[in-house]
Symmetry: D2
Subunit: 125 residues, 4 copies
């Protein structure tokens, strides 16, 4: 994407913009897909769909999504499935805006007992 | 699934149960996935993920999901993607409860301008 | 609602239709709202919004929604909130189709460790 | 919130962090609530629930949510309701991280025909 048709609406630096765009994408994963029915039979398809849904969004250069299979194995109940919890997700995205790249993540942090969205790095490229 | 651990909670016939279970599954598709970012690059992955998320749910024997590619082509905006609308979905599921099968559908009905969920058939097998 | 514009698309009895419509509505609650940020400050507003979102849907005569406040109190983490899980919901709806009423429920069943959607009663009125 | 338990996971400036947090919250609104059944009877309750779900999230100082009633009036179909589209939303949030405030917005931009999430202002306070 060479040109940003929305640029005039923004009052911030390119680095802040990269961080903002990355936040949107991580928020979208959690709130779109948490609750999806899940077991070992569809985990691959769901991972791939989440990944691809990230890659079609503006400024996303790369995305990887992992769903914790140990939690699926432990969590299946009488009906042999569960639903996706935020704690099971490990999502990494790379967002590029102009000459800044933000590498951000959604990952369950054990010491916080919380699925944290955080900025691993913002750098000029 | 040979045995239903929840049977005692239900006061209805097996055919009504099949209809109820099918309704749940169609409601889940619409309200889980509408809003997902979408273009021609991820439509295959999203279709497959929705289909597989149906098949892991109790009593579902089969499911097919189609997303209308013509609407994707027409709807892409400046950022080259759109988000999934209920009107784009054509979902068919077959739910079996005891000796009854319900074949149900979510499909955009042009004369109603509405994404209708309906029962195509309930039969004893 | 006196007339159903979609009647010709259905091949089932009025009682089965009532069960199907109730299933759709319970599926919609779970998959629309699970994942919503939640603590004691917004639980009243969220309950009310879910209830009202049920009541605007076709054939719904009544709906009540309760979110388990004990689970909210126990579940708050470092950031003083959590997100809605299906296990916290107790939803009761009354759906009427022609001369049949279906009373259905979404409720966490402890012995199943599962948020069960079930048909409490279908009766002719 | 005086202390941030997650600070050590972040590699960015406070201003970038404020932008990132605001992005998460706007992404959460869109992907959590788009698809919710809606008409004039529940629009007030839904606006309030979305607003309150923003205010319980970390670092949010204020939030206002408006749903376009003109689009509800025009969009109601045979069943007298529709579902929430991103285009109907006007959301404004104020996020504070350390001594930076980000004022951000989700708003339908007519010339783009797109529900844009943008940064109105990032300032030191």
């Amino acid at each position: 994407m060479n040109k940003d048709p929305a640029k005039k609406y923004f009052n911030c630096t390119p680095a802040e913009r990269a961080a903002f765009e990355a936040g949107i994408k991580l928020g979208s994963v959690y709130h779109q897909f948490v609750g999806t029915p899940l077991n070992m039979n569809n985990v691959d398809a769901l991972e791939k769909a989440i990944e691809e849904s990230l890659k079609v969004q503006p400024f996303v250069e790369d995305a990887t999504v992992k769903i914790d299979r140990n939690r699926i194995r432990k969590g299946r109940g009488l009906y042999k499935y569960l639903t996706l919890h935020g704690d099971m997700l490990d999502v990494k995205i790379k967002v590029k805006y102009e000459d800044y790249v933000a590498v951000c993540r959604l990952k369950y942090i054990e010491e916080m007992d919380y699925p944290l969205m955080f900025v691993e790095e913002i750098r000029r490229v």
